[in-house]
């Protein structure tokens, strides 16, 4: 089983190397390698998720520890080790990544501009994401975190699209540079936090299981936690550091938006949980009101901003900010049910945002337009597309039976349980705003009389339909049968010190 974990990192890298070796005039070969790799990763991710046994205990399973750098310099016995393991929090996120990358490969089938280079970078990114979810060594955690950020610039700047709003433009270079710079600036804070934690622990190891066992002084935890909270918060789309997210996601090509909004933003929230809360629980306790406030603000701010967007992709981008606000609120509740809800929301938001970006990409590829007011009634010409988008929207606004409901329900219960009734109330308001912007968008673009300009639109390509079906399966799975998720997550969350 531990080699299954290893292969989650090795497969995408091996695929990337294969892509480099295949000459560029065989794009079809590249695509089939990508499909094979995607299927393999999806299957193995599903295996990891389902095989994971939840029966109490520390929660770490299938660990594989290889020393990488030890007994040199300031490093002790297991100084830096290649340490993989999965716990109940990581298991659903691994599954999420498997689903989204396979869907991403389906969606990217028709990329004709340098498909080879595109897949190299995409798979590199995926390896980084897997690495973060399953690394138990702080050095490698950060290593993979940066690997996931590294290819973004080129992916957006080369394969993305610029937006023209008449009075001003947002070029793809702008979106790419803004995203990269803000995320790496966040990494600087994480860097400092890691240095400080390592030095304070004085163990000579980056092994997170050992770093967690240390009791750090209260003062240290108080000043160190914000470095992790803000540093990872940038990637989690934490208000007010979320501004890269709409611009970056709009500029990115569809598959990259899916992966980035669907999975990469979770790395930020996951980092706050895995590094921030698990290593520095007292610091997290101290700063949780602040985290709660920015989470609530982000949820409301993202929802109100989404309400004012006419551009479909910007609307989805701001809705991501809003939903990530829920994730942060769940983390800040610092109780089992709230944090569980937060992880559930990571999964739920991941699949539904990926689905939304799939749909936006499908319509943009044909219409070269994303202004929802210029559409109208296109459900008549693209019925499946409309249905898929509606399902994503309904999950987003928290309709029972879909993934979003399960997650938000847990979060709200957690909030009220922790005494944050005001945050719970604000969260429910944000959910109401979500309902407004989603139904408004669906009404404007998909229903009503058909705008004749769009009579010629065709149904989504079969690859996009496959991607959408896969993602909807994820939404329904969690929506209708949340037990496998809740069991796994709760099993680990309740062992985290400091979470009541």
């Amino acid at each position: 089983m531990e080699y299954v974990l290893l292969s989650l990192i090795v497969i995408p890298i091996a695929c990337a190397v294969l892509f480099v070796l295949v000459p560029s005039h065989y794009p079809q070969v590249t695509r089939y390698i990508a499909l094979t790799g995607g299927l393999a990763m999806f299957t193995l991710s599903a295996v990891v998720f389902f095989v994971y046994e939840f029966n109490g205990g520390s929660g770490l399973r299938y660990d594989l520890q290889w020393d990488w750098l030890e007994d040199v310099g300031f490093l002790g016995d297991h100084g830096i080790s290649f340490f993989l393991a999965v716990d109940g929090i990581a298991a659903p996120l691994v599954l999420l990544n498997g689903i989204v990358i396979l869907a991403g490969v389906f969606v990217s089938w028709n990329i004709t501009h340098r498909p080879k280079d595109f897949f190299v970078l995409l798979f590199l990114l995926v390896s980084g994401v897997y690495g973060v979810f399953i690394s138990q060594d702080l050095f490698f955690f950060f290593f993979w975190y940066e690997v996931a950020v590294l290819p973004m610039y080129l992916l957006i700047a080369v394969w993305g699209a610029s937006s023209d709003f008449g009075t001003f433009t947002r070029t793809k270079e702008y979106g790419a540079m803004k995203l990269t710079m803000m995320l790496v600036a966040g990494s600087v804070l994480i860097f400092v936090g890691i240095f400080a934690t390592f030095t304070e622990a004085g163990l000579g190891t980056f092994d997170m299981t050992e770093l967690r066992a240390v009791t750090y002084s209260e003062d240290f935890q108080k000043w160190c936690f914000p470095f992790f909270m803000v540093g990872f918060g940038v990637l989690a789309g934490m208000w007010p550091l979320h501004t890269w997210s709409p611009d970056g996601h709009v500029a990115a090509p569809t598959a990259v938006s899916m992966l980035h909004a669907g999975v990469l933003m979770k790395l930020g929230a996951f980092g706050i949980l895995r590094v921030g809360i698990q290593i520095l629980p007292d610091g997290a306790e101290f700063w949780s009101p602040v985290l709660m406030t920015v989470g609530v603000t982000g949820a409301l701010y993202g929802a109100t901003s989404a309400l004012t967007q006419r551009d479909l992709k910007y609307m989805v981008g701001y809705s991501s900010v809003s939903h990530m606000g829920f994730v942060l609120m769940g983390l800040a509740s610092m109780n089992t049910i709230g944090v569980t809800g937060s992880v559930l929301q990571m999964f739920a938001h991941g699949v539904m945002t990926a689905l939304m970006f799939t749909n936006v990409g499908a319509v943009y590829d044909q219409a070269h337009l994303r202004d929802m007011t210029k559409f109208g009634g296109i459900a008549r010409v693209m019925p499946r597309h409309a249905a898929f988008f509606t399902i994503a929207g309904l999950s987003s606004l928290g309709l029972p039976g879909l993934a979003g409901f399960v997650a938000e329900f847990h979060i709200f219960v957690g909030l009220f349980q922790a005494g944050y009734w005001w945050a719970g109330a604000a969260g429910i308001l944000a959910a109401a705003l979500t309902t407004t912007y989603i139904t408004r968008m669906i009404a404007r673009a998909y229903f009503g009389p058909l705008n004749e300009r769009w009579e010629g639109l065709k149904e989504m390509r079969i690859g996009e339909q496959a991607a959408a079906a896969l993602l909807i399966a994820g939404i329904l799975f969690m929506g209708l049968w949340p037990a496998p998720f809740v069991d796994r997550i709760t099993d680990t969350v309740q062992t985290i010190p400091g979470i009541g």
Binding site: G73, E146, A196
Partner: protein
Amino acid sequence: MTGTNLDWELLAPEFIIAGWALAVVLLDLFWGRLGKEPLGYVAAIGPLAAAGVSLIWVDDTRNFGGLIDINDYTTLFRVFFGLIGGFACIASARYVRQGLLHPGEYYALILMTVIGATGMAAARELLTAYISLELLSFSLYVLTSYAKFDLRSNEGGLKYMLLGAFSSAFLLYGIGLMYGVTQTTHYDGIGEVLSGYTEDIEFAMYLGLALIIGGLGFKVAAVPFHMYTPDAYEGAPLPVTALISAISKAAAFALMLKLFVQAFIPLIDDWRYFVAGIAVATMALGNLVAIQQSNIKRLLAYSSIGQVGYLLLGIAALSPESASALVLHMVGYVTTNLAAFVAIIVFYNWSGREEIHEFRGLAERAPYLALSLTIALFSLAGMPLFAGFATKFILFQAAAQEDLLWLAGIAAFFSFVSLYYYLVIIREMYLGQPDETTRFPTPWLEYAALTVLVAGVFFVGLYPKPLFDAVEDSTDSIFPPAAEAQSVTQP
């Protein structure tokens, strides 16, 4: 001096290089038909062979006349500098054929820099260090102005030489004062005197220390002694720029590290914040000014100034751990920088261009070249998979361990700033539309050298253990316990 042990065979690698340098000059003189390009490949054999020969002294600890250490530290740098010299010759070959006169002397001077650099790392005494440093510097002054019909080359060479001479005077004056106070020029002797001080230390001591730091600061191009760097980098023929950025910095740091460890460590509380201040200024100026550059050589000049700032971090946080981290980062940095320069030299040989916007569309015309340069630039920016991430992480962590967390934080911040200007080059290569779409021809030998260097960048980034072990062995050999055991009787 008593106890002199003149084991001449200890200097075999240096003799090999010197002899080879002479042979290259004679070869060019009497058998000019060989051509400028093959001569470079012949010249490369010398330092590479010397690097191989120097492996004889692995785990050996001896010295030559009490002046030069032969230990793991020296061996590491002999190998390292030998490799740099070899790569510099190979990278020069085509460039020299296309644009320079007098190839024999050119290659001979490159080999001389290797001897000078090795001497700086090996010296255990200030005057030996000084003479080695001058050998390195003078070779580089000449090499910088080697393109004698190019005004920029002449200007760069002159600036380099004038300021270099000035800084040498600083250094020499500092050495003089140091000798006046401690009555010795041996590192360990100075260290003994300084650690024996109980009452106030004389002002002349501090002045000497400041002058030595200033003089060495010039050689590594630390702010505010960096003024010559951009002009020298821009004016010098490209392979010489690569050589300056690699060997002159590495050698100066090798000297500085050993000197500070063995001689000045008793006063660490006095100079630590001085060096830390220089490090901050160097990182800030180098990285911020680099953003505005439009010429790739000037950009790399400023970026190398920024890199010096990170390396100074290791000096400010001086301890056995940070010394090995410093050398590790230096090896990683030099490998990466050489990869970047080899890629740029190949591009220049083909197109004759060196402005950043002229790299546009390179990914279409020479995908491998663009990929290699991208890897090198990402590595310089400290991105993972490549050398820069692992070595910077270890170096900054080493500084944080010595209560310099704030300095490590500043370094991480400027490392982030540097990503911006590296991305600007990458943007030109991958996003720009090329002026013409013809493919570059493939220069096999240069590509082979590039591949070796890029492989090195990956190796250090993905599996630094062997290198780190070797580096730690080498830096352990300069720390006092080992040094004392072997020290010869002082005069």
